[in-house]
């Protein structure tokens, strides 16, 4: 069951596939996050209060000078392959925006392409999930979200002490693991939710 604290977190999910949107929404809600789903990168930027030309729309009365988002978004999870603006393009625009760059971004892809994964991680993506995404993948999100709530938030921090008590027993291990697994698209180790190995045997990164 999700922790009460997690419902404070609002995740914006971006995917052009209606099936994948439904799936990611269910996964996120099961993990007790608030979810908004959109079907394109441009709609995501709109929701975040940015426009495609990268300037913050200053005439909108409802947008406050300090927080350009209408609604606070704590994490963006996006598909890589989308028509028009790809997930990578969206990632870049978020990281280039002064108001949005601290929002953690996670990329999802159905294709295990090492160069694609590297590019995304280098551009600042926190994680890269292979589709289909599983509940166990989402457990890797918490450390990134907790970081953003911390007052001492610093993007470059590597070894951080949890600022919050970790109610979940795997909380601390997860933080370590998420650093180690950052370059791996496939999760290693036995996850409680997975009782048999994946039948379609995803090849690991070379």
């Amino acid at each position: 069951m999700g922790m009460a604290a997690d419902s404070e977190f609002h995740v914006l999910a971006v995917d052009d596939s209606i099936i994948d949107r439904k799936l990611i929404e269910r996964l996120l809600k099961t993990s007790s996050y608030q979810v908004t789903t959109v079907d394109s990168g441009s709609k995501a930027l709109e929701f975040l209060g940015l426009h495609e030309d990268d300037r913050i729309h200053q005439n909108t009365p409802s947008v406050s000078p300090n927080n350009h988002q209408e609604v606070e978004v704590n994490l963006v999870i996006t598909d890589y392959c989308m028509p028009g603006m790809t997930g990578y393009d969206l990632l870049k625009k978020i990281k280039e925006s002064s108001s949005l760059k601290n929002i953690p971004v996670v990329i999802m892809s159905s294709e295990n392409v090492p160069s694609r994964i590297s590019r995304c991680l280098e551009e600042g993506a926190e994680e890269f999930f292979l589709k289909p995404v599983r509940l166990s993948d989402l457990s890797k999100l918490r450390p990134h979200l907790l970081k953003t709530k911390s007052k001492d938030h610093c993007k470059e921090q590597v070894d951080e002490k949890p600022a919050f008590p970790s109610p979940k027993q795997e909380g601390k291990e997860e933080q370590q693991q998420s650093k180690n697994n950052k370059r791996k698209a496939m999760e290693e180790g036995v996850s409680p939710e997975r009782t048999r190995p994946r039948p379609n045997g995803i090849t690991s990164m070379v």
């Binding site: 596939s17 269910r26 809600k29 392959c81 379609n200």
Partner: protein, 152 residues
């Protein structure tokens, strides 16, 4: 209740056969695990979306392959989408046909593509029937006052 037990056993056997025969893979089980009292019709809803998506994509592929000058990139785009959806729902046989299909698109092999289109249409109909049977069994169990057993 005997009736409920019988239906439950039928359901489990049928589900096992679908997995054994490769119609469904572990991802489908993952979807079933995500279904709960907050989202009681989750699997049926996803399946419905998948069927709609399938039909639309199959039509797109058929139309594209009928053209004088086939736009293989367009066909491939539809196959890529179908591969993604079938992977997300656990429709293994459909997904596997899509993998072969993409190779033919890359090779710009119209005959090969048409064969795959036929296969994918066939696999999709099979799966649709089987899932409808599975869902019907679930409904019967619930109607008899029982609960649907969890897989695994």
């Amino acid at each position: 209740m005997d009736v409920v037990n019988q239906l439950q056993r039928q359901f489990l056997d049928y589900s096992a056969s679908l997995h054994r025969e490769g119609f469904l893979d572990d991802q489908f089980t993952q979807l079933q695990k995500l279904q709960d009292e907050n989202s009681p019709d989750f699997v049926v809803e996803v399946a419905s979306l998948f069927f709609e998506d399938c039909e639309k994509l199959i039509n797109n592929m058929a139309r594209a392959l009928e053209q004088q000058g086939v736009d293989f990139k367009q066909v491939d785009a539809s196959v890529h989408q179908l591969k993604g959806s079938s992977s997300s729902i656990g429709a293994m046989r459909v997904k596997n046909v899509c993998i072969a299909f993409r190779s033919f698109c890359e090779a710009q092999n119209r005959e090969g593509c048409l064969r795959c289109l036929q296969q994918v249409t066939h696999e999709y109909s099979l799966l649709k029937n089987k899932l409808q049977t599975l869902f019907r069994l679930e409904q019967q169990i619930l109607a008899a006052g029982g609960s649907v057993p969890a897989i695994e």
